[in-house]
Amino acid sequence: MSTPAVNFSEREFVIVQVSRLLEAKCIYWVGGGGEPLASVLLAKRTRVPELQYLTEDGVVAPEALVPFDPLMTMVASRANYRALQWGTMNYAADIAHLGYVDYGILNTLQVDRYGNINSTVVGKYEGGEGRRFGGPGGADSIAALAWRTILITDQHKRKFVEKVDFISSPGFVDGPGARQKRGLAAGGGPWRVYSPWAMFGYGQDCQLMLQAVAPYVTVDQVLDEMSFKPKMAKKIAPLEPPTEEELLILRTQIDVGGQVTDRGRWIELKDGKYRFAE
């Protein structure tokens, strides 16, 4: 029942990785759409049907009817189907303030050594010279209020930077204790960063630490696609490839149109090894 896949995209890989972390005994606050929501929906359809999540519009533990129409991941009937409760954005924030959100799952434009998230501007903020993006959306609340955050991004030098150009949503800011000094609750903060090539955690010093890599890249390749050198775990583990079963569900039930997964490079299993397809 668990056949390693022979062909998958980078996005599919990362969605599968995150989906495997998710547990029935936790509550997740999921960023609006994209890989975070796909991970959750995949986990619900593979291992943990009872998985509970919130989104920004205050939906509590829906049994979403996939697939969705484009962008219809919130305030939409299929996304919110058969929820335990329908609330509002302030209600979702209340639940998170109270400590009920175990994990937040987010994607981002840029992340830095301390796990700070930039979704506002690449380049200089003032004067409109940088390239401007849409702002934190719900991510600031998730990053501040969930006990742990799981971040998803791509493996590129411009995405893993020493210091983000703008902190849209907080990681550990600039080190231990910094969150509380700026008014955030005790505890909480970044926990994992997933890219299609690697998985990172954080040490006691609140700094990003490489912990595992995908079977189709080397540690050096990962480090080459970072603007800074992260801390390294004592042992770098391998990430397990997706299974055919996981991909089938992802492709046929969740991301049918390929809106989320059909980006990035493709990987194939050839001669017993995973490598980028040509």
Partner: protein, 323 residues
């Protein structure tokens, strides 16, 4: 309760006493019919220079037909509450209606940097939940509310928030300034002619937005009787006395969805998103706004009966939507 740090962003004036005085003088308490056309509602209640909020967005149970009317009437110098939104702020800025936006999340693209560089629009930084919390403060009639997020961001520096010492725990805590928009646009499932209204499904901040605003324009899918409103008072989230205009606008959220009533129109959404990513709304505005006189005409000429039937048919879920 010392102020430790303050954002340097300009923010819309916090004035709970001014709001109360406005309510006392201007808001009709009596149950009088407020039914009017979208043209009349926007002419009467949206003014150049207003702070304008809308609930949800152009794609999700938002007041899309009212937004098009605001643009059609070429309102100017609006300051917009840009939370949880894809194209609405881009439309308002690019059409020359808005020159300030408080950001939670807005659909991005080349238009933003261009608007900043050309001095056509200023952006102030918040997050979605911080903006709805600002509306909640406004809806509670208090000048601020505390929160335990946002303090550790760069956005804080460009906002109207303050970091103070909590007199109860002696720890730093964020305060957000109350937001009481001059006018808000809210699209609902059902309302009576006085403005008593129901929203089904999840929401962003419809009740907060309605209570916090000096003037409120509702558009509604259905006009129902006050008798029906009184039959299930637990379903009603907006009371008539905060409402100034009720516009009967079936498919008022088009091209967006209204949960339980109709699905979104993917084509219409892709058309708007495409304009935004290209950074050029001229054709979109010409076709969907300026060349059309009203929402009814939009449905008749641009959308058509076939598509309307289609978006209704595709909304198969009825459970929980009071129908």
């Amino acid at each position: 309760m010392l102020i430790r740090e303050e954002g340097k962003g300009e923010y819309f004036k916090v004035d709970p006493d001014g709001f109360r005085a406005f309510v006392r003088e201007n808001k009709p308490r009596a149950t009088v019919s407020k039914l009017m056309s979208e043209r009349e509602a926007v002419e009467k209640f949206v003014r150049d220079g207003d702070y304008l909020a809308y609930d949800c967005n152009y794609f999700q149970r938002g007041p899309s037909s009212l937004m098009r009317e605001v643009i059609r009437q070429r309102k100017k110098r609006l300051w917009v509450c840009g939370k949880f939104t894809y194209v609405a702020c881009a439309l308002l800025v690019e059409a020359g209606c808005a020159d300030r936006v408080d950001i939670g999340f807005i659909g991005f693209g080349p238009w933003i940097s261009r608007a900043v560089r050309e001095g056509r629009c200023k952006f102030f930084e918040y997050s979605n939940a911080i903006m709805t919390l600002r509306l909640k403060a406004g809806a509670m009639g208090v000048p601020f509310l505390p929160a335990r997020s946002f303090g550790a961001t760069s956005g804080f520096e460009y906002s109207g928030c303050k970091l103070v010492t909590d007199p109860y725990t002696d720890q730093p805590i964020l305060l957000v300034p109350a937001l009481n928009p001059d006018v808000s646009l809210i699209h609902v499932h059902q309302a009576d002619e006085y403005g008593n209204a129901r929203v089904f499904g999840t929401g962003i901040a419809h009740q907060e937005c309605a209570l916090a605003s000096k003037r409120v324009i509702l558009s509604t899918e259905e006009i129902i009787s006050t008798d029906e409103i009184r039959r299930d008072p637990g379903r009603n989230s907006i009371p008539h006395f905060v409402v100034d205009a009720v516009v009967h606008a079936p498919f008022g959220a088009y091209p967006g969805t209204v949960q339980g009533y109709y699905a979104s129109d993917p084509e219409g959404i892709i058309e708007a998103m495409g304009a935004m990513f290209r950074g050029d709304f001229r054709d979109y505005l010409q076709k969907h706004v300026y060349s059309i006189g009203s929402h009814a005409e939009c449905l008749e000429k641009l959308v058509g009966a076939q598509k309307l039937a289609d978006v209704r048919r595709r909304e198969t879920i009825r459970e929980g939507y009071g129908i």
